[in-house]
């Protein structure tokens, strides 16, 4: 049974969101509420259902279950929704035949919240020439152009699906710093997927891990700091640490690093140096945890089946 959506404060609300391709569910019965003013990292392994979920949110795919974005049904009201939502789906989707000035012209005519002045201001900081065709720009310039367009639109929700894929490190850095310094404020919400988690972890306010079409973790960064803890332990005391049931264990330079959830800090501090795990480490631990649970459930199911 899925409860009906009544949370009007949410930018995105989903109840029982499901998307099937044949027998496999790319997105499997997700419930979700995303409030305004957050920067959410939607992170998951390849094929976990990230892009499928984003497509449903953007009205680019049909789905089962209930989904509201800014109070609208994206599958039926995409055009209306796009007045308040912007998205960049990977770097290479700007039409290649178009000239930069034509692109700006069209966006201005079609988008009621587009500001030409802002766009010109952003573009003036780049080397992009207005009479160039998109196909003659470098990959990094196309990304800059797309970001300039999107940042010039006064939208409430910005969705970025691998926005910096294939760009060099300089472009990636300036991409995210522009986003944070010039665009983000407490009215706006940004939803980002990327595999390069290290680059965005300092700008995120929330984490959303997705695995096999389900949400594996939905937490704020503050919560990560208070609930998760990594301990560096010398080999002699590793057994002691293991007894406390860590989520994950790995070895770095001969030391054992254990990741704990909801453990008393005083106890852990005796074992070694404490710090907050990186998003990447937390991700790996969560994914392994999830796979182990799935394996256990399958085994239990098989055992039950055998018994019957």
């Amino acid at each position: 049974m899925t409860a009906s959506i009544d949370n009007t404060g949410s930018i995105i609300s989903a109840r029982g969101l499901t998307k099937r391709y044949g027998r496999t569910a790319a997105v499997d019965n997700i419930d979700l509420d995303i409030p305004a003013g957050r920067i959410i990292g939607l992170i998951g392994p390849n094929g976990a259902g990230k892009t499928t979920a984003l497509k449903a949110i953007l009205g680019l795919a049909t789905f089962d279950g209930e989904l509201r974005v800014l109070g609208l049904d994206p599958s039926k009201q995409r055009a209306q929704l796009m007045e308040d939502v912007c998205f960049i789906a990977d770097v290479a989707v700007l039409p290649r035949w178009i000239r930069v000035w034509q692109l700006i012209d069209l966006t201005e005519k079609i988008h009621p919240r587009f500001s030409r002045e802002r766009c010109m201001e952003y573009l003036s900081r780049t080397k992009i020439q207005q009479d160039k065709k998109v196909k003659h720009l470098s990959k990094g310039m196309v990304a800059q152009l797309h970001l300039a367009l999107v940042m010039s639109i006064d939208a409430r929700l910005l969705v970025l699906d691998e926005p910096t894929l294939g760009l060099d490190i300089l472009y990636r850095k300036s991409f995210y710093s522009n986003l944070l310094n010039d665009y983000f404020d407490e009215e706006r919400t940004i939803l980002i997927t990327t595999h390069q988690v290290e680059e965005i972890e300092h700008i995120l306010t929330d984490l959303l891990f997705i695995q096999n079409g389900k949400i594996a973790l939905n937490t704020s960064m503050e919560e990560v700091e208070s609930r998760y803890c990594e301990v560096m332990v010398v080999p002699d005391r590793a057994a002691e640490a293991r007894a406390l049931c860590p989520m994950n264990e790995r070895q770095v330079f001969g030391r054992h690093v254990f990741l704990f959830r909801d453990r008393d800090r005083a106890t852990l501090r005796e074992l070694g140096e404490l710090h907050t795990p990186s998003v990447a480490d937390l991700f790996v631990a969560t994914m392994e945890d999830g796979e182990a649970q799935v394996a256990a459930a399958t085994q239990a199911g098989a055992a039950q089946g055998g018994a019957a």
Binding site: R78, D90, V93, R99, L106, T107, K109, I110, H111
Partner: protein, 316 residues
């Protein structure tokens, strides 16, 4: 409305070659042909003797005949423009909902607040209105340029171009009739336009094959089954398409009808009891026929299908 115009602007920018360059090139071919004819004449004709004689001969003909021949000439010169326009529109529509899926820019277009319906309408209007307008405009410019060249030539042999042909030609009448047939063809061709947009909206690749193969296969099977049953070749989809094409309100060739010496007709004026003559009355008769109504129903079904697919389309 502004959004629709912006979307049409986009189509024009994206397909400048089809909507702007192509009609101009055809006009250019006409002008080039005219110039080549002049140079050839000047080259082989001793001091333009034959040309002078021809002009003198033409000037002696009755005004009525000169007027009629010029009018037919204006109409006849549109045939090439019309045929190329069909090709341009055909391939434009075939790519209209396909190209942006192929190069993934659909993800950008769908990020703009323009509905799928508006997008479809913008593409249909390009085929129905903008293409005919562009080709007619190029035809008019071509006529004017050639009229200037002809006038200069006639002045060069000491004849008066005004009395010889400018005053007796009826360009406005010819252009209006051509324009009317273009608009009528746009309505007449709606089932085809709908079909092309439908194919364009779903074809995973090679939209041309998807557009052409199904009617070929269906009519082939129909012919075969019909032959097995009755040992005759009965009417089939191919016949329907052929009749639709033959009945199209288009100027495909020009001939002077023997009786009243004025009808502009498609090949044969009356075939199988169908009046092919392109007159204003006949054009309206066809647009108000049951055939046209059936065509509109088919077109609506195809367009609804195209919209359905467009609504679900993403980059893969």
């Amino acid at each position: 409305m502004n959004r629709l115009l912006a979307l049409m602007q986009r189509e024009f920018w994206e397909n400048k070659g089809a909507f702007r360059t192509t009609p101009l090139v055809i006009g250019g071919i006409y002008v080039l042909g005219a110039l080549m004819m002049i140079f050839t004449t000047a080259h082989i004709d001793n001091e333009l003797y034959t040309f002078k004689e021809s002009v003198r001969f033409a000037a002696q003909q009755p005004e009525e005949l000169r007027s009629q021949v010029l009018y037919q000439g204006l109409l006849a010169s549109s045939v090439f423009f019309t045929i190329v326009m069909w090709f341009v529109v055909f391939f434009y529509l075939l790519g209209a909902l396909y190209d942006d899926r192929k190069d993934r820019s659909i993800l950008f277009w769908k990020s703009l607040p323009a509905s799928d319906t508006l997008t479809l309408v913008s593409k249909l209007l390009m085929a129905m209105v903008v293409a005919p307008a562009a080709f007619l405009a190029a035809l008019i410019v071509t006529h004017l340029v050639i009229a200037i060249i002809a006038s200069l030539m006639i002045l060069a042999v000491d004849q008066n171009p005004w009395t010889l042909f400018l005053s007796v030609s009826q360009p406005i009448k010819a252009w209006s009739l051509i324009g009317l047939t273009y608009l009528a063809q746009s309505i007449w061709a709606l089932p085809l336009f709908g079909w092309l947009l439908l194919v364009s909206s779903f074809a995973p690749r090679l939209p041309l094959l998807f557009a052409v193969l199904p009617p070929l296969i269906i009519s082939g099977l129909q012919t075969w089954i019909g032959f097995l049953r009755t040992f005759t070749f009965e009417n089939n989809l191919w016949g329907v398409i052929g009749r639709w094409f033959a009945h199209s309100p288009a100027i495909m060739s020009v001939q002077i009808d023997d009786d009243d010496g004025g009808n502009v007709a498609l090949g044969a004026p009356v075939v199988d009891g169908f009046d092919h003559a392109i007159t204003v009355m006949n054009i309206f008769d066809r647009l108000l026929s049951l055939e046209m109504l059936a065509g509109l129903v088919v077109a609506v079904v195809f367009l609804a299908g195209a919209l359905w697919f467009r609504h679900r389309a993403t980059d893969n």
